[in-house]
């Protein structure tokens, strides 16, 4: 698969995205478009599976190595699952065609971002993957809350990405080239550190890491749970991939870079977990949980070891599947915790799926979350961050606190008199089943994924 054919997956996705814009012409209107979109991204994933890797393209600006392949498959599959779910459900009464198009555009951007090896491609792909997210957040045109959340998301992201851009311009200035291979901030003194710091601001904001996470709780609370499901997971995976690549390039030059990342990690873990405790709205709770999990990811990143980077990518995928599924359930059942009351009685299968996802987020074996945390904390300890790991451990126990409040609502919440019965939908439940399979299989079958991340413990 030489030459431009490497970009076939992205081309398929983009093509279908454009077709989705003219959804009314397609057979089956919204449902058809969603199914077409799901098929497209699955096809992209299959193509990637067999012909994933090749030599760099466009003069080294894009490199499709093993790690990129893993992330691109993950992004494609998650988008497919989301679209499959979307085909069975509606977006709070809005037309779904545009949502499909936006999702596909964003996932295409994410896939390119995973491959980027050049500052220009990095910035372009990053903006491509986040811009549809702003619109998805404000998808309900009539609802002022959604729009307000979207505007907050937009303003803060734009502010931070411009700060990042300013940093990138200095990095270009200092190293004379925008290609990762050429960049190095060695002996660049305070200006180098400043540039790296500025770049980190933008990336922290994209990953909703404290102290730049303010947009996340409000945006998630305002938007419809379905769009939050997509926005809180897919862009984060590709964003994390870009962060790993960039940090691997910048970190060696800047001596105190680790302290910066470490501080971000500790802040995110503590603030994310504690602020999530008193929440009563599931979306806001998942927002803070997102901040907490980003904290764990940054912790492994701070260790700066090869395992650390591999562990980060593994964990971000192991975290994305369950949290997307939980948000999809919230979309079906209703945003606040009390809406989940008595779910075990009404839909036992879904209730037990929720238990699997929540346990995986806490890090209980044998689910994916446990192995993810095992590698994360292993990398952190390897990097000598012992007390931070202890803090992370304590914070994940605290996280068990609010995840269990969700579980308690499901099993012991007092069932409202007229529980609204959600009509059965084949495609939605298959999507959720895929999520459960992902959470369990990724846990037990961890070794093939580990090879994909091309790293191995010493």
């Amino acid at each position: 698969m030489e030459g431009y054919w490497q970009l076939l997956p992205e081309l398929i996705v983009m093509g279908v995205a454009i077709a989705a814009l003219f959804g009314e012409l397609l057979p089956g209107k919204d449902r058809g478009t969603a199914l077409l979109g799901a098929a497209a991204s699955t096809a992209a994933a299959v193509v990637l599976l067999f012909w994933g890797t090749a030599e760099p393209l466009f003069g080294g600006m894009v490199v499709a190595d093993e790690t990129a392949r893993f992330i691109r498959i993950a992004v494609a599959l998650l988008t497919a699952v989301w679209l499959l779910w979307l085909s069975g459900r509606n977006m709070d009464g809005e037309r779904r065609r545009e949502a499909v198009a936006l999702a596909l555009f964003s996932s295409a951007g994410g896939m390119v971002l995973a491959m980027s090896a050049d500052l220009i491609v990095l910035y372009m792909a990053l903006e491509l993957s986040t811009m549809p997210a702003y619109v998805l957040m404000g998808y309900k045109r009539k609802d002022i809350d959604g729009l307000e959340g979207a505007l907050k998301y937009f303003l803060l992201s734009m502010l931070t990405s411009l700060v990042m851009l300013y940093g990138l311009s200095f990095i270009y200035g200092l190293s004379g080239t925008t290609a990762y291979s050429g960049i190095s901030l060695a002996e660049t003194g305070p200006l180098g550190i400043a540039a790296a710091a500025l770049v980190m601001v933008g990336l922290f904001a994209k990953m909703s890491a404290a102290p730049f996470h303010y947009w996340a709780p409000d945006a998630y609370a305002g938007a419809s749970a379905a769009s939050v499901a997509f926005v809180s997971t897919v862009p984060k995976i590709s964003g994390m991939a870009a962060v790993v690549r960039l940090v691997a390039v910048i970190a060696p030059g800047v001596s105190s870079f680790g302290i910066l990342l470490g501080a971000g990690a500790v802040l995110s873990m503590v603030l994310g977990n504690l602020a999530a405790l008193p929440q009563s709205d599931l979306r806001r709770l998942m927002a803070y949980s997102g901040v907490a999990h980003t904290g764990y990811l940054l912790l492994a990143l701070t260790s700066g070891t090869q395992i650390g980077y591999g562990a980060v990518l593994f964990y971000v995928v192991a975290y994305a599947a369950p949290s997307m599924a939980i948000m999809l359930i919230s979309a079906e059942e209703g945003p606040s915790l009390t809406d989940l009351a008595g779910l075990a009685a009404r839909r036992p299968a879904i209730a037990w799926a929720m238990v699997v996802w929540l346990l995986s987020l806490i890090g209980i074996p044998p689910f994916a979350g446990f192995f993810g945390k095992l590698y994360l904390f292993g990398a952190a300890i390897e990097g000598g961050l012992v007390w931070q790991t202890v803090l992370a451990i304590v914070m994940s126990v605290v996280s068990a606190g609010y995840y269990f409040r969700v579980m308690r609502e499901i099993f012991f919440g007092d069932v409202p008199e007229s529980p609204m019965q959600v009509e059965r939908s084949v495609s939605a439940s298959t999507a959720l089943a895929l999520c459960v399979l992902a959470t369990v299989a990724v846990g037990i079958g961890a070794s093939p994924l580990m090879n994909a991340l091309s790293f191995s413990f010493p």
Binding site: V163, P190, A197, L274
Partner: protein, 635 residues
């Protein structure tokens, strides 16, 4: 000689068969217990004759061991053995046991849980036989504790009432205090000798570290004091009278309380190596003998008198052991077992006949209960130490040993104790048999209750003379008591009897003591009502004698019993505070951390104010901080 192992097995099997049965089947299958006891009686007599010449043989007549377990590769052996000392004890237990069983047929026939009574009795006998046959201290300790449980079950037999329940718990816990000492003795022994078996321990005791022997000896003594109710661990025995009388006859007269003496006799080489332990035993025995006698003299309940008398006689045995003579102690143990169980069975009949345990409501039984009177008199005289009966011979041997060991102080105490014993025995006898009848239609007991008493009375009158051959049997040269010994003891016994006759026997009326009680206002409440002042108030001997007894009684009731109850009460407040500490402090801390986390969470939540401008200011503020940091870092 394998049948020896069957001896403890038979009663144990009887217990195992009786327990699972339903209640009425169990009541119908009493003969199983009887047959088992009879079987072990026959076998133990055979065993006795098998070891008859006795003497100081190097290794036991019969010894069989089996490995119980391996600890760190080292096998822990467990076995049974037969040698003169255990043979002596061996024939004693089934005889008394059989008599008690036959007697209980009459005493307990109305009780609907009599099956369970016989089952517990069988388990007790099995445990005692196992204890006597054990060839190492660990098996002895295990049988020791099982016996403690049986005494708990038998004392608390009528568990519907409150008193037996309290008494049984008190008995078990007080003996258990002693057992803790015994256990620590075992650990120290294992550390010093590396084994529990008799020949292993006793053989190597000479080579132990200096302090080890004393520590082991004192700990074993502490255990023995618990089981044999020596002061201060004697508080449980008087309360244990709440159990059925025949059971007390077996447990609190003959066997269980003797186990302590048997333990010390077995461990005598250890005591000899550590001199201090011997003197401690001697003085413990002396004090107990005095205290037991004095307290017996002031009791009104017939069974409590016998209980305190047992404590006193056990004190004598400990005196003998303290003086280093195993033979004297064992001989007194055997004789005491027979006449004390006779007295208890007699007491059972008396209580049965006069429907009360309080001596002041009894009197004039001699005219109606002919056989009981005769047998009870034989027992009383033996206890008092009057010439032809066994008590005289065994007590004199102890006095002889004391003289031989130049323990004159203790010799004097022993004589005074003998005097007191004679006094309270006669007091009991006169109050019960002489004087006006206070209950109508007194009739002789059923002969199932009388036959065992006659048997025991005949044994008591016969075996006294056997002292000489008994010593030979245990491997020491026999000695007839020298006049310098038996004259003072006879004088003491006679004086005691005379004084008691003078105080109680002379008048043929129901003695009224109302006026005396007002004058003795200061004596603490309950005991004063039980105290019975004689009309001839002024004679010198009685008043100081009584005051001394009261001091002990008060001491006994307030200090020791108080101490035991005090411990229980303080224990309850400790557990109370423990429980609240548990709930409030530890649980409090756990819950506090949970609520703390929530409070912190809600405070963090408030930062999310909702205004976009505020967020942007926070972000820019963070960026500015970052830049400052980089400048500082970079420079």
């Amino acid at each position: 000689m394998g049948y020896i192992a069957v001896i403890p097995l038979l009663p144990a099997l009887a217990f195992a068969v009786l327990v699972p049965l339903s209640r009425e089947w169990r009541n119908r299958m009493l003969w199983i217990a009887g047959a088992a006891m009879g079987g072990s009686l026959v076998l133990s007599v055979m065993a006795f004759f098998a070891t008859w010449p006795g003497g100081h043989a190097e290794h036991p007549v019969w010894h069989a061991t089996f490995p119980l377990a391996e600890i760190g590769g080292k096998p822990l052996e467990m076995g049974l053995m037969l040698d003169p000392i255990s043979a002596a004890m061996l024939h004693l237990i089934p005889i008394v046991g059989k008599c008690v069983q036959v007697n209980s047929l009459g005493y307990m026939h109305r009780d609907e849980r009599v099956g369970w009574y016989y089952a517990a009795l069988s388990l007790f006998t099995a445990a005692m036989l196992l204890l006597v046959l054990a060839d190492n201290f660990l098996l002895l300790y295990m049988a020791w504790e099982v016996m403690g449980l049986c005494s708990y079950l038998l004392i608390g037999f009528w568990h519907e009432q409150e008193a037996p329940r309290k008494a049984s718990q008190k008995a078990f816990l007080t003996t258990r205090v002693g057992d803790v000492g015994f256990a620590i003795g075992l650990f120290a022994m294992y550390q010093a000798a590396g084994t529990f078996s008799f020949e292993g321990v006793l053989g190597s005791v000479a080579s132990w570290a200096p302090g080890a022997a004393t520590l082991v000896a004192l700990m074993l003594l502490f255990g023995a004091m618990g089981k044999s109710a020596q002061v201060p661990l004697h508080v449980w025995l008087p309360d244990a009278m709440a159990g059925p009388t025949p059971a007390s006859a077996l447990i609190h007269a003959a066997t269980m309380v003797a186990a302590g003496v048997y333990l010390v006799a077995r461990a005598m080489p250890i005591f000899e190596v550590s001199g201090t332990a011997l003197t401690v035993t001697l003085w413990v025995g002396a004090i107990t003998a005095m205290v037991g006698g004095l307290l017996a003299a002031v009791q009104h309940d017939i069974k409590k008198v016998l209980a305190y008398s047992t404590i006193s006689q056990l004190g004598y045995m400990f005196i003998a052991l303290g003086a280093g003579s195993v033979v004297a102690a064992m001989f007194h143990l055997v004789t005491h077992a027979f006449f004390k169980s006779l007295l208890f069975l007699g007491a059972g009949v008396i209580i049965h006949a006069s429907h009360t345990q309080d001596m002041r409501e009894m009197g004039g039984l001699a005219k109606h209960l002919k056989i009981t009177t005769v047998t009870f008199t034989v027992g009383s005289l033996a206890l008092a130490g009057v010439f032809p009966f066994s008590g005289f011979w065994s007590k004199d041997e102890i006095l002889a040993v004391l003289l031989h060991e130049q323990q004159y102080g203790v010799f004097a105490i022993a004589l005074i104790a003998a005097f007191i014993t004679a006094f309270y025995v006669a007091r009991l006898w006169f109050r019960v048999f002489v004087g006006p009848e206070q209950t109508d239609e007194l009739h002789e007991a059923h002969n199932t209750m009388l036959v065992p008493m006659v048997l025991l009375a005949s044994i008591t009158s016969v075996i006294g003379i056997g002292g000489y051959w008994f010593a030979e049997f245990l491997g020491h040269e026999g000695a007839w008591p020298a006049p310098v010994v038996y004259l003072p003891s006879l004088v003491a016994a006679g004086a005691g009897l005379a004084l008691s006759w003078w105080a109680y026997g002379r008048l043929n009326i129901v003695l009224n003591t109302r006026p005396l009680k007002q004058r003795a206002g200061y004596i603490y409440g309950m005991l004063s009502r039980k105290l019975y002042f004689d009309l001839t108030y002024d004679t010198f001997i009685i008043r100081p004698f009584m005051r001394l007894a009261l001091v002990f009684a008060v001491f006994d009731f307030k200090r020791i019993d108080g101490a035991v109850n005090g411990v229980a009460r303080s224990w309850r407040d400790l557990s109370e505070s423990g429980w609240t500490f548990d709930r409030r402090v530890i649980d409090g801390a756990v819950n506090a951390s949970a609520t703390g986390a929530k409070a912190l969470g809600s405070r963090l939540r408030r930062i999310q104010g909702g205004r976009v401008q505020a967020y942007q200011r926070y972000v820019v503020g963070a960026v500015v901080l970052l830049m400052l940091w980089t400048v500082v870092k970079g420079a």
